[in-house]
Symmetry: C2
Subunit: 699 residues, 2 copies
Amino acid sequence: MDCGDLLGLRGLLEPRGVAVVGASSNLESISGRPLKLLMRYRYQGGIYPVNPNRESIGGLRCYRDLLEVDGPVDVALVAVRANLVPQVIRQCSQRGIGFAVVFSSGFAEGGDQALQEEVIREAEAGGVRVLGPNCQGLVNLAKGIPLSFSASLDTDRFTGGSPGGIAYVSQSGAFGFASFACASDMGARFRYVVTTGNQGDLDTVEVSRALLEDPEVRMLMMYLEGVRDSERLVELLKAARGKGVPVGILKAGRSASGSEAAKSHTASVAGDQRVWRAVLEQHGAILLEDLEDISSLGLMCGAPRPRGSRVGIVTTSGGAGIMMADLCSERGLAVPKLNPNAAERISRVIPPFGSPVNPVDVTAQVINDPLGLKECLEAVRDSGDVDMISVVISMITGEAGLKTAQQVAEFAKTCDMPLLCSWLIDQEHGGEFIELLRENHVPVLRSLRQSAWTLKALCDSSSSLDLGSSGSLAPFRVPEGLMGGVLTEHEAKGVLKAAGVPVTREELAVTLEDALRSAERIGYPVALKVMSREIPHKTDAGVVALGVRGAEELKEAYRTVMARALEVPGAKIEGVLVQEMVKGLECIVGVKRDPVFGPVVAFGLGGVFVEVLGDLAIRKAPVFVDEALEMVDSIKASPLLGRFRGRGALDKRALAEAISAISRLALDERVLELDVNPLFVMEEGKGVVCGDALINLGE
Amino acid sequence: MDCGDLLGLRGLLEPRGVAVVGASSNLESISGRPLKLLMRYRYQGGIYPVNPNRESIGGLRCYRDLLEVDGPVDVALVAVRANLVPQVIRQCSQRGIGFAVVFSSGFAEGGDQALQEEVIREAEAGGVRVLGPNCQGLVNLAKGIPLSFSASLDTDRFTGGSPGGIAYVSQSGAFGFASFACASDMGARFRYVVTTGNQGDLDTVEVSRALLEDPEVRMLMMYLEGVRDSERLVELLKAARGKGVPVGILKAGRSASGSEAAKSHTASVAGDQRVWRAVLEQHGAILLEDLEDISSLGLMCGAPRPRGSRVGIVTTSGGAGIMMADLCSERGLAVPKLNPNAAERISRVIPPFGSPVNPVDVTAQVINDPLGLKECLEAVRDSGDVDMISVVISMITGEAGLKTAQQVAEFAKTCDMPLLCSWLIDQEHGGEFIELLRENHVPVLRSLRQSAWTLKALCDSSSSLDLGSSGSLAPFRVPEGLMGGVLTEHEAKGVLKAAGVPVTREELAVTLEDALRSAERIGYPVALKVMSREIPHKTDAGVVALGVRGAEELKEAYRTVMARALEVPGAKIEGVLVQEMVKGLECIVGVKRDPVFGPVVAFGLGGVFVEVLGDLAIRKAPVFVDEALEMVDSIKASPLLGRFRGRGALDKRALAEAISAISRLALDERVLELDVNPLFVMEEGKGVVCGDALINLGE
């Protein structure tokens, strides 16, 4: 298999030779174990321990320093004291070693940012790429190359057999390899595990992007505490989507206490968690939160893509079947009844006290007729009513258990949809059956909740692969000539109108006579609002009059609002905005610049929905109209946009177009903040109108 | 240990002799395994196989029928064809056998309700209590007595050692024993497992109530598909609370597909799931939804009660510590920083790149100085800053792993708060350490999410034990003399007023002159509403006038609403209600009769909150004022009842008193339905007022 130069990282992932700098003769220690592992995995390249105090370690000749090493070397594993690392990097450069994997701790994570910067400076100057520092290295299981001290690799289980298709990249070394070990125990089969630690140079995103170049990688999982460049993360997610590779991401540091800990752990900035979640989901990533998720999603690596969200449940325990139906339904998966033909086919092999619909309860009778199970599974598969199959087996033991496992394994070979087996049994009675299933690459879990989660994750990931927005949306530039700072409402609406967002009919009047004429043109009732950059909070300042019904009222109102405006010290008054009065459902569309992801757009309903309930949909800008429609449908209050209390459905399409237009405006770096509040939404066909808006262009 | 007669079930749980009716000579079959198990567990009472076709089975003399059996027998295990069961029950009665455990299937669950009723009739007539039919029996692990065919018991693990304190009662036999087996694998230690199947006679509630009489039972877990008598369930929960025994309940059949399956599985009616959840939580039960929950909660059986919700996290992996902090925080647990003294004590033993606050990251350095871990654990325990301790260990292996396990086990003995260990390691490298911890009764899980869930469940359960409403609330009776059916608003408010709920000032006028005088007394503005039992939907019928500001307007409005009322065919008009106009936050308090739990009270905010967002708090009536306050605080929109947009906090106390009063009214069986909508809530000290109400007293 040739996969190019893996975007320049081939040398790191498949080195011709490996030096271990600071190699210890204690092969169980952190600086000894890398040697032990290379030998245990029978690494075919050269292995070069570097330790000036030893002649040889583990039968290998020891070198005084890297310069003394003969033969081709692509990677130096560095396990020396932190303050010695810069010098080692320099030697890598002199020796032409392209990659340094730095295990040593005591850099940015312990407060010594300067030392880390020194290392990176040396590396950049010398053309050396660095993994770490403060990482646990990596393993390439496709080629059987361990470049790590992790005890999880100190086993024979990974040296035989065929490697799997999971690429796993973790910022945390300890968690990365521990979760890898636990997931492997559950039967997940990995291809690469790479830990990036402090990410002085190589980060999870760059490494993941390179691994995606290997066509045998069928699933990508990442543990992140933060990212340096969110654009590259988004590009990575798009690339994975383009290749049809599902991506699971565990973003740690979501809570206040967690994010503070993350800062000291790998010196990461956590960012706004709602934005993280929104952006990852927007780009089709599966959100993980526990090593259980890594295990169970990993088990489905290479499974067929589900064509929909309908689950067929086949069980030997009525109770467990009901639970699984509950857990699937509660996550939005369907558990439809089977059609009469399928039910009839099943009825022929199950006892009358079983159930042939869905969940299909074959009962513990399967103990006596174990061939019935396979027949039932086939009937469910062929029914045309389901997209995924969940097999839930209880305490079926002994001979019957073995036959059950064999049948499920055999069925799995012919199953063209995702299949997940949940076997509720203890190790003593069922360990061998679960082992048999795993050997046959049938995913098995014990937890029903985890099973339901896994099917849902697969299903979401599959439908997001279908979505993948193609094309791009160009930024809309704020027209030239506008002064910086917070625009007046009239200026802001001018920008929005130019960007394609409908705004209220309005005219800026500089005299009372102007205002009267404007009101005639617009038609009463009107609103009057004094425009001044120095009065951004117009209502608080009392310079707004609403529902002005005629010329007399207007004169009165004009005088009142102007008088109040003139009381504001230093306010330069541009005029009075005469504006039509509009009715509709009040929505809010906002833009802010997230410290991690840049411009993001938020949508919600006015009133208490955003303020009290936090009922918001967030996306990274730009947002296509289809995505904006999804945003609109995703808020909890979305039923209010449909037919409601006697009025017709509202104009969601126009709303989505406005959100999309605003998102393009958000791409202009000048726009620091933008709030359209309210955006009135009218009935279908009648569009939307921006009622008020605030734009901050910065200084 | 003497625990009385276990409410009459001692004979079932500790029989002097056991007959196995329909015993098979195939000791691996359903009807043979009960014998095998009794012998394997060295059951000390008499064992009597009944099978007319055999002389002996497994070395035991076989009997033709029950009548032939000599010696004392308390339990007959029944494994014959369904249609033979009534006759066996008759023989039990004749023979004076108090209990029949019926394994046989083919009764209500398969549609043959009549046969099941026959069995129960025979049993009642003959003084025999029945477990099942369609159950898998029970096991008393305290005395080592298996009365079951479950393969989960076919092991030596339960015959030695000390039994635990968990009583587990499951309607589903297959799921019950499967989850018991899996939980035992995780280290949970059970005392009783009882499965009730179709619950023809004994049900989960009665059995659980009896097991609570055993003072060694320290935790109760139940798997329910439905209950026959919800009052007894509530009594059970109160009894458990009184004894300080936490109760975990897995209610299956929550979803539409699950509840339909439950109906056919054990013939249970599922009921409204929101009410189920609310009532269980109201009475302090921990809601379970997976066998993982049974395992992990079971591990905490006998743990000290946490005094609060603060978690101290001690970890060898920064990444895993961050995740645990996230998972705890997201569930509402606190992860507070440790005080400087504690942090200082920890700093002395961890390396500088660790973290001494919380999560405490001792780093993998613990490999080199494994005594540091115990010191850190003690510092966290003694800090005064936490109520529970979570130890999160990554891939610590070999000698260091062993020492780590030993230290945690030793620390556990001195730990006066709940301690839960999460060790992220595979079986090959860590199996022995986890085993060591389990032998020392230290709870160990792999999943961090499950660990966080478990701590939260413990914490909730503990605080609910503190709450336990004492005393009782008497029903409030609807005053005599009211005709049945849907009352008019004025009648309904009369009832509410009598029950102690403030209502609007209002008078029923029968002439225009009356109405004018009433309005003078009440003070303008007023509302006019025509009262007629035949016009329950007043606004739709146009017989309401709001905000009437003076005598002239009143005359006009009076004529309008009366004219409209007179157009309603057959409407008997009682008069026009003249009512003060009130302003306040509009809430809704409703009462309905749940098919399972009887009268329940629901509270939510008016407008779209209940209708669109389903933002409701539900409790079984009656509700104490303190509980009502909890209801008020539990809805998502509750911030609206606090200080908001310039106005002061609202009168929650008065609101809670009104909810409590309404809940007492709900106890009158005549009240089929009651809706107070709106209930206006004013600022603190200004109370609440019922603006409109509907009461249906039925026919």
